[in-house]
């Protein structure tokens, strides 16, 4: 979050006779001209022209009101407190507002701070007159002299049933504090401005109570995408460093966390952890929201992957390639020299061949290093219509030191590979009369019934395969939901009449 976003904080109070007055402003002179030597020469904007939005009509009070003027955004939360006999004309209206740049992108986080402050000050005022108590009448004084009359009025009205001591305290407050600066409210403005601008949070104790003002700017996140059973979560941070109980009180989350490994689908996780599928999805969604997890597809060798436009970045970015080489390398096990493992032998031979055959004593680290050129070549040879299985067969030589799953995952994570999903569309069904479809459903129902039962009690699960054949459901989804493997699904689909398979 950029620092020093808050240009000014000011406290405005509505005077029944004098109108809206800015009682405190930090920095001085930022809202209304000030005589203070440290004051800004010119206010940020013309206050009178927006004062109607700072102190609006009662209807607009107690809600967030923002307005834009002179390239500044004024975020305020006008509060109107009604107190019979407590205030002059029984109302106390104030606004504690922030000034930001008009085009500040994420001003929502400031808005929530203002809202919280407004409510808090309201409570403080209602409880103990936090704001009205230290009010200095001279703040309202201009050139006119009827301020005093209001003071008397206000006093007589508000203090009729109060004791003398309270009145004295009021009196002292007025005397002791110089106008415009000093006082708790002013200090509050000052501290909030400084702390939020510098640390994005603040904790301000309010001396006479046990109250504390705790504020923090929370960045706004995008709402997380819905999670489905066939998504594969992969942790981006090491949650094991936390003890699992402290991460969350969410029991589902605690249970599924140990199983998240970047290969298991949500549905698989819920089986392993014995949790409810929908709760599992929700838990994963929380992780997505906080950026702890990214979502992948179900990896298998019948899947098709192809490069996206971002492949350009991979090819031109050497550091990315190095990162990839480290990531996809098959961890070296020292039995390589024993050459018992055929794969290892191959790897060794390959490396030897690269070295021209004359460097038999190659360093171990080098031996299992994947040349960047190979990586580039491998990634660019993935294409639409080529299943991973066939691709592996085509590029067997280059893949000797490469963990294929990690290789693919790396591309998907970085966004330069995408999974080409497979969909099925029943072409005849659109034109066929409804009853025929019903009949087909019945036929399909029977073989599926068993699985459906085992799967869950939900009747909708027992719907026939037909519902998946509209081109909206990837085979990952169909397989996950029907708990069948792809080949079986394909076979069933084939028995279904005219069905087109589409990859996209």
């Amino acid at each position: 979050m950029p620092t020093r976003m808050i240009k000014s904080i000011f406290f405005t109070r509505f005077h029944p006779e004098k109108g809206s007055r800015v009682l405190h402003q930090v920095p001085e002179g930022s809202i209304t001209p000030s005589a203070s030597p440290s004051a800004l020469k010119q206010p940020l904007f013309h206050f009178p022209s927006v004062s109607d939005y700072i102190i609006p009509r009662q209807e607009f009070c107690d809600r967030l009101v923002t307005t834009c003027t002179n390239r500044y955004r004024v975020v305020g939360y006008p509060v109107c407190i009604k107190g019979e006999g407590k205030y002059y004309r029984n109302e106390f209206i104030f606004n504690f507002a922030l000034v930001l740049d008009e085009d500040a992108a994420d001003w929502g986080s400031y808005a929530s701070v203002v809202r919280k402050l407004g409510r808090l000050l309201r409570a403080l005022e209602e409880q103990g007159g936090f704001l009205s108590r230290e009010e200095d009448l001279r703040m309202f004084e201009d050139d006119e002299d009827d301020g005093l009359s209001w003071k008397e009025l206000g006093q007589t009205e508000s203090q009729t049933d109060d004791d003398d001591e309270r009145e004295d305290r009021h009196f002292n407050t007025w005397r002791s504090e110089p106008s415009g600066s000093g006082g708790k409210v002013y200090a509050l403005c000052e501290m909030i401005l400084e702390d939020l601008n510098n640390y994005c949070e603040c904790m301000i104790p309010i001396v006479d109570d046990s109250n504390t003002i705790n504020l923090k700017l929370f960045p706004t996140h995008l709402p997380p995408a819905p999670i489905f059973a066939w998504h594969v979560p992969l942790l981006t941070i090491d949650l094991s460093s936390f003890s699992s109980t402290t991460i969350s009180s969410d029991l589902t989350l605690t249970r599924i966390l140990p199983y998240i490994d970047g290969t298991r689908s949500v549905s698989h996780l819920s089986q392993l952890a014995d949790t409810d599928l929908s709760l599992t999805r929700k838990a994963v969604q929380h992780l997505v929201y906080y950026g702890c997890v990214i979502l992948l597809d179900i990896f298998h060798f019948n899947a098709i992957y192809a490069p996206t436009a971002e492949i350009y970045d991979f090819i031109t970015d050497q550091s990315l390639q190095e990162e990839c080489a480290r990531y996809v390398r098959i961890p070296h096990i020292s039995l390589a020299h024993g050459a018992r493992d055929e794969r290892k032998t191959l790897a060794a031979r390959n490396v030897l061949a690269e070295d021209g055959g004359n460097e038999a004593a190659a360093v171990d680290a080098d031996r299992y290093r994947v040349p960047k050129e190979h990586l580039v070549k491998l990634y660019t040879s993935l294409k639409q219509g080529l299943t991973l299985r066939n691709w592996v067969l085509e590029n067997f030589e280059l893949l000797t030191c490469v963990d294929v799953r990690r290789f693919i995952t790396f591309g998907v994570i970085k966004g330069f590979l995408y999974r080409v999903h497979k969909y099925a569309i029943a072409t005849s069904s659109s034109g066929v009369a409804g009853f025929e479809e019903e009949k087909r459903r019945e036929v399909l129902m029977k073989p599926l019934e068993g699985e459906g039962r085992a799967y869950g009690s939900d009747a909708s699960r027992e719907l026939p395969l037909a519902r998946y054949l509209d081109g909206l459901h990837s085979f990952d989804e169909i397989c996950t939901e029907l708990r069948m493997n792809e080949r079986d699904v394909l076979e069933r689909v084939k028995g279904f009449g005219e069905v087109q398979i589409i990859h996209r």
Binding site: R63, P307, K383, L386, G471, L472, Q500
Partner: protein, 853 residues
């Protein structure tokens, strides 16, 4: 570049507020009459595609009641609405991530809706402090009868009226007032001090003084710096994305706003004056057209800005123009207010009254039209009066280079391509002329739309000639249409969403099913396709064909007779975003042998240079004088050695490939980095090339790469006098002129010249080649010296003379940014020839190619 956001108008209501001397602030009209229904709110949420393109999710989840259905994709619209309405209540209560999302989308409005549900949404939104105080806003909204006449959006009329009539300091400025989740965006227009609505020439001399005064005021306002551009007056042209020629401005196929406006103004001048300045004190002093939006927090700035810039401001200006001319706004306002009063007296329900008002007042009708169109992300076409109509829209993204992922879903159906990303490095202003125009509607439909307007007959002719298989350039030649005209029309059609610029469709290009295709639309598309292309493979069949291993489209065309109709199918598929072109991108791959050869040559040159230099020192005096002359012209203040070389290579800056922006850097860095590459062979003798030959951080280690091969070759280690780094650079430059002209006989570089290698030297080259690793040249246009040498060496190895000639032309497309499929088009050459040449290069293994969109 951020991914394009889907068009998602968050428009909620449009209000017209006026302030007059007789009546004060008045909320004249608002549309829609009632607070939007839950249905329209649900329509505002882009949840339909958010997630995967699936509709079974509901069923999958129906076992669990607390997986809120409101975030799920509704199977049908009705269900969606229902579930959202009921779901939002639950969401408000649960403090989950997921309810957060509901809040972001619909939450802002729930309080205003006055739903009788436990919504602490607004309070919960931001800080989780669930106070219910903030929720009083819309409670009255539900009360029927007279109450509906007294409140708008849950606010009392008079309160709103006061809030929405700001002071004069907001004249021509953006008026923005946020109240919790909603924002009022307005463009207040004020009457001038002199009682007129327009400043301008027409006021004669008497008014000059006032005018000047007002100008000064305006200037003062502007100089405050707030939205300068809003200070522009009506007859100044709008700042559009496209520069429209006269007659092609917004106002698609109809009378045009600014064009007509500026023309009419001068004639109407006297009119204006008599009308609006007549009574010297006009009744209405300001009007404010206010759009009420509820943008999601993260898109707030964007949505408000696009609405203001594209609709609110333009509409307000149009109204002001009409007001200046005919006292339009005030007349209409009085009419509307009178009708409202009558309706209240008669006790008519609001809906009926609104119906009548819209039927009889063009102003009210224009507001309704704008609301209906803009809130559905369509183009609003409004008729303000008999002579003036115009159009408004919020421009939409045409294409995206990104594919949707599980984490970041994207609006489906958007054209997936990198074809229309303009390369910042080389702004090719004419790039559109190589593109073809793909009409998004059928030609006849489009022509019919235009037929009402006589003066657009020319456009109709152009449109009939448009075909997606021919570039604009070719079209303009074929139909002898000036290319400027055709580009204007293209721009116009594109802006008004009637067409799209695409690389011309060609049967030899490859097309695949777009990963971003909108499969939800498949059902309708199948039947639409079937009626259009009967007796041909069905849409699913076509998609199936195009989803196998990538093949040229011609492969799918059964016979030459079918060519035309298959190209039509392709255009149809392209239009719907079902397919996208798979384009090929390439980089030059430099094999180790080339590197070794170049290194050997450079080694030899260095020693020759050494000898030449000894020679040169003898003639030092004569040379230096000339050298300094050449130097001052060519390359500023470089060292003496380089001076000499630049003299020798007098023409090198002129050759395009030679341009090395890093040369000065190189000089500066040589001294400090010269040692490091030399050390590397000793550090890991087994694989010296891993460092020396790697292309890593080529830019910063230019000297390392250029010097390393020489330094590591066995000969140089035996060299008695290690040449200074500057000598190396000099040597390289000295050679460059001859080698940079590939057609000229390359003196040293050509393969025939490899002869002079002694057998021992040749074996040395071979063994050296194992020390190099093949690498890529990422950007041939910006190749450094050693890369340029490699490229020349590659060129020299070609047998085919045509290829050798075309190599420099082709080279610039081998940067991974230009699609090879476009080369022929851009160069204006035969496709076949280019295809053959590129094929040869690929067969030689000189290219790394990758295909994407």
């Amino acid at each position: 570049m951020p991914p394009p956001l889907p068009p998602s108008s968050t428009l909620h209501t449009i209000l017209l507020v006026t302030k007059s001397r007789s009546l004060g602030p008045r909320l004249v009209f608002h549309y829609p009459p009632a607070s939007p229904s839950a249905a329209s709110l649900a329509a505002n949420t882009p949840a339909a595609w958010y997630g995967t393109a699936t509709s079974t999710s509901d069923d999958t989840d129906s076992t669990s009641s607390d997986w809120d259905s409101s975030t799920e994709d509704g199977a049908g619209d009705d269900e969606e609405v229902g579930s959202r309405a009921s779901g939002s209540g639950r969401a408000g209560g649960s403090r989950s991530v997921h309810s957060h999302r509901t809040r972001l989308t619909a939450g802002g409005f729930r309080a205003l809706e006055g739903f009788d549900e436990d919504d602490d949404g607004l309070g919960d939104d931001m800080n989780g402090d669930s106070s219910r105080k903030g929720n009083g806003i819309g409670r009255e909204g539900k009360a029927g009868g007279r109450a509906e006449w007294e409140t708008v959006l849950g606010f009392k009329m008079d309160a709103l009226e006061k809030m929405l009539t700001p002071g004069k300091s907001f004249n021509k400025r953006r008026f923005e007032l946020g109240v919790e989740g909603i924002v009022f965006v307005g463009a207040p227009m004020f009457v001038r001090e002199d009682g007129g609505w327009k400043k301008g020439r027409r006021y004669g001399n008497k008014d000059m003084r006032t005018k000047l005064g007002q100008d000064a005021v305006d200037k003062a306002n502007d100089s405050k710096g707030y939205d300068q551009d809003e200070g522009v007056d009506l007859d100044e042209p709008d700042s559009e994305k496209f520069v429209y020629p006269e007659g092609f401005e917004p106002g698609y196929g109809h009378g045009l706003m600014s064009g007509a406006a500026s023309g009419a103004v001068s004639e109407a001048g006297s009119d204006t004056r008599s009308q609006s300045t007549n009574g010297s004190t006009p009744d209405m002093t300001m009007f404010n057209i206010v759009f009420v939006l509820n943008p999601p927090a993260l898109e707030y700035q964007l949505r408000v800005k696009e609405m203001y810039d594209n609709v609110v401001r333009k509409y307000a200006k149009a109204l002001k123009y009409e007001q200046a001319k005919f006292d339009y706004v005030w007349k209409e306002s009085k009419k509307i207010m009178a009708m409202k009063t009558r309706a209240v007296e008669n006790g008519d329900p609001m809906s009926l009254a609104w119906h009548k008002i819209i039927a009889s007042s063009p102003l009210a009708k224009s507001i309704a039209t704008i609301y209906d169109s803009i809130s559905n992300d369509k183009i609003a076409h409004v008729h303000l009066d008999a002579t003036f109509d115009t159009s408004f829209q919020i421009p939409q993204a045409v294409s995206t280079p990104y594919i949707p992922t599980a984490m970041e879903p994207q609006m489906p159906g958007l054209w997936l391509t990198t074809a229309n990303i303009v390369n910042e490095d080389e702004p090719d202003l004419n790039f559109t002329q190589h593109y073809a125009l793909l009409l998004l509607e059928d030609i006849e439909t489009l022509v019919k739309e235009l037929e009402g307007d006589a003066k657009d007959n020319a456009i109709a002719f152009y449109i009939r000639s448009v075909t997606p298989t021919k570039s604009l350039h070719k079209l303009s030649i074929a139909h002898s249409i000036p290319s400027q005209d055709i580009q204007y029309i293209a721009g116009h059609l594109v802006y008004w969403r009637r067409a799209r610029l695409i690389p011309p469709l060609h049967q030899r290009d490859t097309y695949i099913v777009s990963p971003n295709a909108d499969m939800r639309a498949l059902k309708q598309a199948v039947s639409a396709y079937a009626t259009r292309f009967s007796a041909l493979p069905s849409l699913p069949e076509m998609l199936h064909k195009l989803s196998g291993p990538p093949r040229p489209y011609a492969h799918h065309i059964p016979s030459p007779d079918h060519r035309q109709v298959y190209m039509d199918i392709l255009a149809w598929l392209m239009r719907g975003g079902w397919v996208t072109q798979l384009r090929t991108f390439a980089w030059v791959r430099v094999p180790a042998e080339i590197k070794a050869q170049v290194a050997a040559i450079m080694e030899r040159e260095a020693s020759m240079k050494k000898a030449a230099e000894m020679e040169a020192t003898r003639h030092n005096e004569d040379n230096d004088s000339i050298a300094s002359v050449g130097d001052s012209v060519l390359s500023g203040g470089e060292t003496g050695h380089v001076k000499k070389s630049s003299l020798l290579s007098g023409n090198w800056p002129a050759t395009p490939l030679r341009r090395s922006p890093h040369s000065e850097e190189t000089e500066a860095m040589d001294a400090s980095t010269i040692l490091s590459p030399r050390l590397q062979p000793y550090r890991s003798p087994a694989r010296p090339s891993s460092d020396a030959g790697s292309t890593s951080s080529r830019i910063t280690t230019v000297p390392a790469t250029s010097n390393a091969p020489v330094a590591t070759s066995p000969q140089s280690q035996n060299h008695p006098h290690r040449p200074s780094p500057l000598h190396f650079n000099a040597a390289i430059r000295e050679l460059s002129p001859s080698s940079s002209r590939p057609s000229a006989p390359p003196s040293i570089v050509s393969p025939t010249m490899a002869g002079p290698f002694s057998p021992s030297q040749e074996t040395a080259v071979e063994s050296a080649s194992s020390k190099f690793e093949p690498s890529l040249i990422l950007s041939p246009q910006k190749a450094n010296e050693i890369e340029a040498r490699w490229l020349e060496q590659i060129c020299a190895s070609f047998r085919d003379p045509d290829l050798r000639e075309m190599w420099p032309t082709l080279l610039k497309y081998f940067d991974g940014k230009h699609a090879l499929d476009d080369v022929a088009l851009r160069e204006g050459l035969k496709r076949k020839r280019i295809g053959a040449l590129i094929g040869m290069i690929r067969e030689g293994g000189w290219l790394l190619t990758v295909r994407h969109w």
